[in-house]
């Protein structure tokens, strides 16, 4: 984790902060979702407690805390309690691998604004998120309820089906950048945009070389698949109320329910962050290269350490703003589209998105090959 005690301490703090970001984002997102849905549906939403209903979050937390502790009689106790705890882990571990801002240079130490730097970042994040079905299956089996079990099987079948489309849709992107490393991807997206094919070059200098301009189809597929991965509407078949009551967490309440919520919103945050990273330039401010920003920070800070810290914080804010935009799209979509039927969902995953992702891969490979002839 580091070479000396200072570095180890800072790294441990960073990891805990990453976790707290996810935990703290959830009440804010829940509030945004309730206000946003009210706005979309021409209602008021929570507005009684505190300014704009903001204290509703605290009230909810207190309410959850005083809920009765209880497990159904025919539950498998160990799995029943382990499932919500395990629901937190994949999202947190994946989120900690995402670079949130430019690295900060403090004397001889370099601190990256991320939990840990992993040189096969994408594979790591995919691998960790592929562990998510366990929590669902444990909850479904542990509850000892047939609705929970049905919901868990549906949810995990959905998650693994869309994992295929998710995994395949980023192959083209990996090919474009030629790396698995997330930091190198951000580096690659800083240059101005230019298309080159068969010796001709079309410079579009007013646009940054973001992945979305090279991989529009891949970006759409990735974003759609990540909706399904985080069990959000229109893909929330796991908890189709009409036929399955609440899916795999029907027997859960209080803080156990809240932990599932944190896991679900955590997946949403990771998906938005990945979207920003892969296709929208990461933490770099559009139009302002990192050199300009560093120069500006040097002029406005007392010394190099603080200048680096300032630049890091600005990029962090920029990254969070971009992520918030995508989180809002998640919320907007949830309150706009109706739910699929289960067979439609599976058809979309296997027969529509997978072939299109394949097409995207072949097209990208062909274009890259032709461009280098």
């Amino acid at each position: 984790m580091g070479h000396d005690i200072f570095e180890i301490t800072i790294n441990a703090i960073k990891l805990i902060v990453c976790f707290l970001i996810i935990v703290q984002a959830v009440p804010v997102l829940v509030w945004a979702e309730r206000r946003g849905s009210a706005f979309i549906q021409n209602r008021l939403g929570p507005n009684r407690i505190g300014p704009l209903g903001l204290l509703q979050l605290a009230a909810d937390a207190v309410k959850f805390f005083f809920k009765e502790e209880f497990a159904p009689a025919n539950a498998v106790k160990f799995l029943y309690y382990a499932a919500p705890i395990f629901a937190l882990i994949p999202a947190t571990v994946a989120f900690a691998a995402i670079p949130l801002g430019a690295p900060v240079q403090w004397n001889e130490h370099i601190f990256r604004l991320q939990g840990y730097e992993i040189n096969v970042g994408i594979v790591f994040i995919l691998a960790v998120s592929s562990l998510a079905p366990y929590s669902i299956l444990m909850a479904g089996w542990g509850s000892g309820n047939k609705y929970a079990l049905m919901g868990a099987l549906r949810a995990s079948a959905q998650v693994i089906s869309y994992e295929l489309a998710l995994g395949l849709s980023i192959v083209g992107m990996i090919m474009t950048y030629g790396t698995f490393n997330l930091s190198e991807m951000i580096q690659a997206q800083q240059a101005p945009l230019s298309y080159s094919l068969l010796g001709f070059t079309l410079p579009l200098n007013f646009l940054p070389a973001w992945g979305i301009f090279y991989q529009p189809l891949g970006a759409i597929l990735f974003f759609a698949a990540s909706f399904a991965e985080s069990n959000r509407l229109p893909f929330d078949l796991a908890e189709g109320e009409a036929e399955l009551v609440a899916g795999f967490h029907v027997e859960y309440g209080g803080f156990k329910m809240l932990l599932f919520f944190i896991g679900e919103y955590g997946h949403m945050i990771v998906a938005s962050a990945l979207m920003v990273l892969f296709y929208f330039g990461g933490y770099v401010i559009p139009g302002i290269p990192m050199e300009t920003l560093n120069q500006w920070a040097l002029e406005h800070a007392p010394d190099a350490n603080f200048a680096s810290l300032l630049a890091g914080l600005i990029t962090l804010v920029c990254f969070l703003v971009k992520v918030v935009v995508f989180l809002w799209i998640f919320i907007q979509v949830r309150w706009t589209l109706p739910r699929f039927r289960y067979d439609q969902l599976m058809d979309l995953g296997w027969k529509t998105m997978l072939p299109w992702a394949l097409f995207n891969t072949i097209l990208t490979a062909t274009l890259i090959y032709v461009a280098h002839l």
Partner: protein
């Protein structure tokens, strides 16, 4: 004791505990979950050996796919009450355990006898692959082992067809009552 050594012993103990739980515990669901735990441990051991990409693949394929399949099948079968998890028959059980113990002894003994050969003939610590092995892996896979790669593609196709055929044999898509 450096951090790397500590990490190895930690992971070794964790992985072994997972592996032993898999074969000792009588409830198959717990067996499958501890198998997943073992897979995660092995993947972490791959990371200590600098095989980053393989560690990720191990997680995706084994922990994220194969063991999920096990868990799903077990949940479908609903095998909660399994009275006889282990083989009956004391003598045959003893014979089998004895065979296993002998094999363990032979393996460990042969490893401790032959490691000197490897450390002398083979690589000095400098030759150990360090850093990013992912691109290297891709280069070797797509030049030297390209035929095996295509053959595996065919194999997977065959297995997909065979598994579908098997799953639908007799009795349609629903379990018989």
């Amino acid at each position: 004791m450096t951090a790397d050594v500590f990490l190895f012993w930690f992971l070794a103990i964790v992985t072994l505990a997972g592996g032993l739980t898999t074969i000792m515990i009588t409830n198959p669901i717990y067996s499958a979950l501890s198998l997943a735990f073992t897979m995660v441990g092995v993947s972490a051991l791959f990371v200590t050996l600098n095989a980053y990409f393989l560690a990720g693949v191990q997680l995706i394929v084994y922990a994220g796919a194969v063991t999920v399949l096990f868990v799903m099948v077990l949940m479908m079968f609903d095998l909660k009450h399994e009275v006889t998890a282990f083989t009956r028959g004391k003598i045959s059980g003893m014979v089998k355990s004895g065979i296993v113990a002998v094999l363990a002894g032979i393996l460990v003994g042969s490893i401790s006898l032959t490691t000197d050969i490897f450390s002398k003939s083979g690589a000095a610590p400098e030759a150990v692959i360090g850093g990013d092995t992912t691109k290297e892996l891709g280069k070797v896979l797509f030049s030297k082992y390209i035929f095996g790669f295509e053959a595996l593609g065919i194999l997977l196709l065959m297995v997909a067809i065979g598994a579908v055929a098997l799953a639908r044999s007799k009795g349609g898509t629903h379990a018989k009552q």
